[in-house]
Every structure is written in C-alpha cells, then in structure tokens.
C-alpha cells in the first residue's frame, strides 16, 4: 500500500466572479521512504498541492488517501489530528514562535497531544539531538542563526515521529552553506526511513531528492526517478536554474 495516493485532485478558489483553478486534476502516488521534490514556477499549483498533502486544506474534488485513510472528506478536527500525528512541516521562513525557547518550540506539537510535560521535554530534547542542537535548547529563535532555526523547525517536525515531512522551500532563506547543512539533515532523516516531500524551485536543492515532480498550471508536467529515462527531461530544468 502506498503512503500517499492522490486521484484527480482539483482545487478551485472562488474569488468573486473569477474562479482560480489551482489544481486541475493531479494524480500521484508516493511510497513510504521516498524523497520527492516538487518543482514548478509560482502559480504552478505546487503550494496548493502541498497544503492539501499537509492536510491544511481539502481538495474541491478528487481523493487523497493517506496511509489508507481518505482524508479529503474529513472535518477540521480530524485534519488537525492527522497534522499532529502524521505530518511534520518545515517552512521557508522557519515559522518558530518568537521569544520562546528552542525546546518549547519543538515541544509544541506534543502540547496538543496532551501528554505530560516531562515527556514532552524528553521527546523534544531527543529531537533536538537528532538535528545536533541539544546545546541550544534554551536559546530563543532570535539568538540562533538561520540554519540553526531551520534545524529547530526540523526537530519540531520530527518530534511527533511523523510519516511524512513536508518541507516548503526549506532553504529559501538560507545561504548555500546552511542550505547544504539542512539538506544533509533531511537526507539523513530520509535514510532513517522518513518520507520527505520537498517543494523547491532550485534545481540543485531538488537534486537531493530521488524523484522530482514538475508542475505547471495546476497539473503534473513530469514525474521522473533520479536515475530513470527522465534524466533527459531534466535538462531544461537545470538550464533554467
């Protein structure tokens, strides 16, 4: 059974008189343990796809089956529970809560599980150790470098032991050295068996993934394996980057 199966996902935003077709029938399946990059220009629908895959949004039509559960018809509370238990988010702008310690930021998803505070702390500390920031647990985001902040964000995504980590332009605000560090962390986590879906428009970042999905105008333009025939189709992509 695939981790993710999407069938004809359509998302239409009704903005006044104009309908915006963000997704026009996207079908894909992702297996557990894959490292997938989703690429595309802005307006290609990749963010909408990420929001739906991340259970922040539901499709207008089509089915999204996550670990055997059709989540496209679930209510808000069930979606919140799925986000809490199965999905970890990493954002371009880190999205840490300001003036709150790294440890407390990492604890946040556990807070909404209602587990005892000392367990929250222990789990959060272990997650910080996995990204190599155990010694920074008392620091506030403002006291951390961009790369460190993003690693805290990754620890927060990890702490619930999710099935998927959704990383939306995780290196977009970082210099190349920090970007490499972050991608190395993500690659290592993928090696430990976590499925990673990465949204990026940088080809050299996408190259860390073993599968790339290229989107355009709300549809999948190309879907290729790292070592497959699709390499030829990758040429224009790299030329663009």
């Amino acid at each position: 059974m695939s981790l993710i199966v999407c069938q004809d996902l359509v998302k239409t935003y009704y903005l006044g008189e104009m309908d915006v077709h963000a997704l026009r029938g996207v079908s894909l399946s992702i297996e557990a343990g894959e490292f997938v990059a989703v690429m595309g220009a802005s307006g290609s629908g990749k963010s909408t796809l990420m929001n739906i895959l991340g259970c922040l949004d539901i499709p207008t039509s089509g089915a999204y089956v996550l670990e055997g559960t059709d989540v496209s018809t679930l209510g808000e509370n069930r979606l919140a529970e799925i986000r809490n238990s199965k999905i970890g988010f990493v954002f371009q702008n880190f999205n840490l809560i300001p003036r709150t310690t790294a440890l407390e930021n990492v604890q946040l998803p556990l807070f909404y599980r209602g587990i005892p505070a000392h367990e929250q702390k222990a789990l959060a500390l272990r997650a910080l150790e996995r990204v190599g920031l155990a010694d920074r647990q008392r620091h506030h985001p403002a006291q951390l470098s961009g790369g460190q902040q993003q690693r805290v964000a990754i620890a927060r995504a990890l702490v619930t032991n999710p099935s998927i980590i959704l990383a939306d332009e995780p290196t977009g605000n970082l210099d190349s050295q920090s970007s490499k560090e972050i991608m190395d962390v993500l690659t290592r986590l993928n090696g430990e068996g976590i499925t990673i879906i990465l949204v990026t428009h940088e080809a050299d970042i996408a190259r860390y993934a073993r599968r790339t999905i290229l989107m355009k105008d709300g549809m999948i333009l190309a879907d290729r394996d790292a070592g497959g025939v699709a390499v030829a189709r990758a040429v224009p992509l790299e030329a663009r980057a």
Binding site: N51, G54, L56, D57, E76, N77, A80, E81, R83, N84, S85, F89, F91, N95, L96, I97, P98, R99, T100, L108, P109, F111, Y112, R113, G114, P116, A117, R156, T160
Partner: protein
C-alpha cells in the same frame, strides 16, 4: 484538565513576554476591583457604626414628646406646656405589644465631687426607662424599688461624668457627690454607649430616681409631668400599629377635637433606622454603578489588547494550527490569557482594596469591615469580565484560516 493547566502555564509565559503591556491592561481591573473593595469595606463599616448607634438607643423604642403650644403666634417648643404625664404613659402600657413603658424628666446641672465639678444632664427616671434605653451597669447596681418609692438621693453616673469627676482607678461606687447642694450616693456606674446619631455624647449623663427628681431636685408645676415618654415594642413589626394606638389613646385622654393638631409627638425608632438603611442602599447602588463602569472599562481594555495580540500573533496561530492545534485549542488559549489577565488584575485589586481599607481605618480612623463575600464576589466578577471580553478576540483567533495565517507578514 491537564491541557487546561498547561494552557494556563503558557498564558502566563505569553503575558510575561509583554510585562508592561500586561500590567497596563490589568490596571483597569485592578483599579475597579480595588476601589470597589475599599469603598464597600468603608461603607459597611460606616453602616455597622450607624446600626450600633441606633441599637444603643434601645431596641424597638417609641418616643413620645410633649407638644408645644401657640400663644398669640409664639410657639413654645416641646414641653412648653404640660401635656404629658406619668399617668398617660402608664395608660399607654396597656396597649398590646408594649413590653415596657418609661419616662424621664431632665435638667442641666452642676455635679461636684471633692475638688472636681462637671456640668451635665440629670435625668429622673423609673427603672423601666433604663431597661427600654438599653443601659447596662458597669459597676454597682440599678436603683432599688425602695429608692424609687422613698425618693432616695441615689445616683447612677454615665462614663463621661465618671471620667470627669474621678481620678482613673478611683472607684466611684459608694462615694457621695453633690448636686444642687444635696449629697447623692453613687450606687452604680453605667456602661458606655458612645455617641448617638446626632453626635451627642450619650455617656454625659447622670440618672436619679424619678420621684427624687420630681420632689427634691427639679420641682414641678404639675405632679407627674414628664419630659418624654418611652415605650418598647415586642417586635419591630408591631411598632407602626402601636404608634397609631398611642396617638388614638393620647388624643382621647387629652380630649382633642378631630380638627385640632396633636399636642404631642410620637417618634418611631424604626423610621430613623429606615432612613439610614435607605441611605446605605442608595450608597450601595452607587458603588455598584461605579464598579460596573470601571470593570466594563477594564474589560474593554483587555479586549482591545487581545485583539492587537491576535493580529500580532497571527503567524503563531497559523503555526499552532499547522502542528495540530484544533480551533477550540486556540479559542481556549486566548480565553485563558484574557482570564489570567483579568483574574490577576482582580487578585491584585483585592489586595490593594484590602490595603486601602486598612489604611483608611488606621490613618483616617474610619471604621471598616472587610467581608469575605465581597472579596470573592469582586474576584469572581473580574474573572467573568475576562471570559466575557476575551470571547470575541479568542473566537476571532480560532476562526483564522491556517494557510493564510502562516503566510501573514
């Protein structure tokens, strides 16, 4: 429950991030609650003092004063003519519901003890008067029936007179004082009653048997004439009825035609108490209005700050939702922040109010009564204000769209 507790902890942490802002937000509630508690404590203290003064007059007392007369347009004042006698009052004792009937004649005179003297009021009274007016003995004894029958020269001294005529530590009972050049034996001293509602010192008084006053001290134009009559009723409910009956009986005894005015005045102690109660009731309403307004303003302050906070923390709300917070979690978080603000303000207000009331009684000497009820009510009300004014911002926060909230700059 566990989650609620953790939310409270988080709320404290969030509010501590903006200490100054939180403190200023609480100020409205602090002032409101503090002012209410201080004012209610002072009000209750004043009320209790007034009630004690009313009670010191005696319970359920009806006072009957002789009337005045008008001669060629000149009005004489109370007691200007003899219109009230012992016989009148003894007749009134037969009215059902009347427990005691007493009377008094008073005069102002100099009292002397050894090298000290004092100008005071002397009252000639029967024993029943002392019972009605709730006088109690501090030392010695009341008059005996024999004293009253034989017009004995015995005297009871009020506390102010004792203080004026005797050295402290000196025992007045058994000594002799002089009044109108006659020796009087001090048979007892009276427990202090303090000041009455008019501010008169009730203890500046001496009592002698009525017979003694009439026959030996004051003399009389008309045997049995009295300065005032006093009745005590069994219960407050009977007083109005008794007053009516007193008027009927006296008008009949004085043979007044229906078109003539009363030649006496009947005063009901309950009426005085009612006026006092009415004053404290309107005082209470005023306090309630002030309290409501200040808590309302405080509540609006909380709502205002929370709305700002929701806008400022839109991204945080988005993050919380992304990692699994449900709408009710967000609602609860902001609601708890509002309640923590208002309840903390309430708590500080309670502390300041109590301190203010204590300061008022210590520095200004006002009597204050701090009742536990008002503390609980004021605190509880401040928490309710938090819930009420927190609901709108909290609901607004919980209705945010997580995707838009995450992108909010």
């Amino acid at each position: 429950m566990n989650f609620l507790l953790m939310t409270v902890v988080v709320a404290f942490r969030v509010l501590a991030r903006n200490r100054m802002r939180s403190a200023l937000t609480m100020l409205g509630i602090i002032i409101g609650v503090g002012a209410v508690i201080a004012m209610v404590s002072i009000g209750e203290g004043a009320k209790a003092a007034v009630q004690a003064q009313i009670a010191s007059f005696g319970t359920n007392v009806i006072t009957i004063l002789p009337g005045f007369t008008t001669v060629s347009g000149v009005r004489s004042g109370h007691g200007g003519v003899v219109t009230l006698t012992v016989v009148d009052i003894e007749e009134l004792k037969k009215i059902p519901g009347v427990t005691y009937a007493g009377w008094a004649r008073r005069d102002a005179t100099q009292v002397v003890h050894e090298n000290k003297n004092w100008f005071t009021t002397v009252n000639g009274v029967p024993s029943s008067y002392l019972i009605i007016r709730n006088w109690s003995i501090a030392d010695g004894d009341f008059f005996t029936q024999n004293d009253l029958d034989t017009a004995a020269k015995v005297v009871l001294l009020g506390k102010t007179v004792v203080d004026s005529l005797f050295e402290s530590g000196e025992d007045p009972v058994g000594t002799t004082i002089r009044m109108k050049n006659m020796p009087f034996k001090v048979v007892g001293t009276l427990a202090s009653k303090g000041y009455d509602l008019m501010g008169t010192d009730q203890d500046d008084v001496v009592f002698i048997p009525f017979s003694t006053a009439e026959r030996k001290v004051m003399g009389t134009r008309f045997l049995g004439a009295i300065g005032a009559g006093f009745l005590s009723a069994e219960s407050p409910e009977q007083m109005d009825g008794i007053v009516e009956e007193v008027r009927r009986v006296l008008r009949q005894r004085h043979k007044l035609r229906p078109d003539k005015d009363d030649d006496f005045t009947v005063r009901n102690q309950i009426d005085i108490a009612k006026v006092q109660e009415g004053t404290s009731e309107s005082m209470k309403l005023l306090l309630l209005a002030v309290a409501s307004i200040s808590l309302l303003v405080g509540g609006i302050g909380i709502m205002n700050i929370l709305l700002v906070s929701v806008t400022e923390r839109t991204r945080e709300i988005g993050i919380r939702m992304a990692v699994g917070a449900k709408r009710r979690h967000i609602l609860l978080q902001f609601l708890v922040e509002a309640v923590v603000l208002s309840a903390m303000g309430g708590l500080i207000g309670v502390g300041l109010g109590v301190a203010g009331a204590k300061a008022a009684s210590n520095l200004a000497g006002w009597p204050t009564i701090i009742s536990g009820d008002i503390l609980v009510i004021a605190f509880g009300f401040s928490a309710l204000v938090g819930i009420f004014f927190g609901l709108y911002p909290a609901n607004k926060a919980s209705q945010l769209n997580p995707i838009e909230a995450l992108r909010y700059e």
